[in-house]
Amino acid sequence: MFLAFAGFSLLLTSCEESSTTQNPDTAIADTVKVSTSGTFLLDGEIFSIPSPVQTALLLKKEKVNFQQDLLNPVENRGKYLTEVQKAMNLGVYGADLAFVSCQDNAQLSMNYFDAVGKLSADIGILDNIDKSFVQRFMDNAGEGDSLIALNADFYRAGDRYLKDNKNTKTAVLILLGGWVESLHLAINSAAGNAAILQRIGEQRDAVTSLARLTASLDDPGLIDLKKNLSELSQVFADLKSTYEYKQPIVDAQKQRTFLTSKTVVTMDTDQLAEIAGLVDAIRKNIIQ
């Protein structure tokens, strides 16, 4: 089953070797390979990371109080000088933008879009995707639902561009930053909310993937982050999880299937506190 991926992995190895001479920064011992699927391939496995937009929509649905001080202030953008810092904080600001877009605050949305735009320009994404994103964003600044959709489309376009250009390191770091920020927002909105707590526990597969992907990136600026991410992955691995299979229900006429199987994750207060502490440490490492 994985023969095709293995073959392609060898091909990509040679492509990356040739790119090393052209762009040393993006090729620093970047051992994560783009797979044939455009997701990430590591040791024969391919990964997909949940979108921060889904967490933003859950927080909106659960009517959590908006706390602006939970966001990474846009004023911090100028502090990010390395490609690693810029990529991770592009992910962070994208997650913040999704959260802000749910608040019907056009000016704040524009501020965060400005931060996203400038960081994506700094790392070469903005010049290589559909320029109409910027205009469409400005045209829809007061429309929360449109902004959320545009945000998601913008990140998909960036993801495509980076994977097409074999810049897996940057793509991984953007996803990591976005995932950490959305988890930080969820944890700080979770008090007494069963749906948000459940969603936090359900991040186990994502953190496992991100820990493995990040571990393969060789960069001195990532040493502490990788250690914390590995610890976080272990805490999630220790959460109790049960799975119950049920036969799906098909509605062929409406082209839809009801998936009624489910996984339930159980997390006690000590485990939540441990997760919160590690996420806070990882986030500080990213945004400071």
Binding site: M1, L3, A4, F5, F8, S35, T36, S37, G38, T39, E45, I46, F47, S48, I49, P50, S51, P52, V53, Q54, L57, L58, D145, I148, A149, A152, D153, Y155, R156, D159, R160, K163, D164, L175, G178, A195, Q198, R199, E202, D205, A206, S209, Y243, E244, Y245, P248, A252, K254, Q255, R256, T257, F258, L259, T260, S261, K262, T263, V264, V265
Partner: protein
């Protein structure tokens, strides 16, 4: 002569890469038409160069309480068959059971870790092709 050959090879490779990217762009745009305005992209792009015997697969999490749309397309217009399997490898869905339909909606009751597999329709006369798979969730 050697320099000329090197330049020629480089040019051909560059053009091939550009054509490949343009082909992927086109099929991604066409496939995005299936993710209608009711749905939001998951922010990631999944594509594969498949031969008729290849299976591309990746694992993802479908969160409970959400409705997802999965769309699959190929650059050669050959149908892409996609399957969804649960963590115990039970088949939850196969587009092949519904005439190789290009998209399908999934109403997810409880959170699931699933594997999505994509293959080219082997009954069609094709050796290989680019497959694109997009995931959206309902607003």
């Amino acid at each position: 002569m050697k320099v000329f050959s090197t330049v020629l090879i480089f040019t051909i490779l560059s053009l091939s890469s550009s054509m490949l990217n343009a082909q992927q762009d086109n099929v991604t745009k066409e496939c995005a038409e299936f993710i209608s305005q009711e749905y939001i992209s998951d922010g990631q792009a999944y594509w594969a160069l498949l031969t008729k015997d290849d299976v591309a697969e990746f694992q993802t999490t479908l969160f409970g309480g959400n409705t997802y749309r999965v769309a699959a397309c190929s650059a050669t217009k050959v149908a892409v068959i996609f399957k969804i399997l649960d963590q115990e490898k039970n088949e939850l869905f196969s587009s092949n059971d519904f005439g190789n339909v290009p998209y399908w909606d999934f109403i997810v009751e409880g959170t699931l870790t699933v594997t999505i597999e994509a293959t080219l329709d082997k009954t069609r006369n094709t050796d290989s092709g680019h497959a694109v798979l997009l995931i959206g969730f309902k607003k």
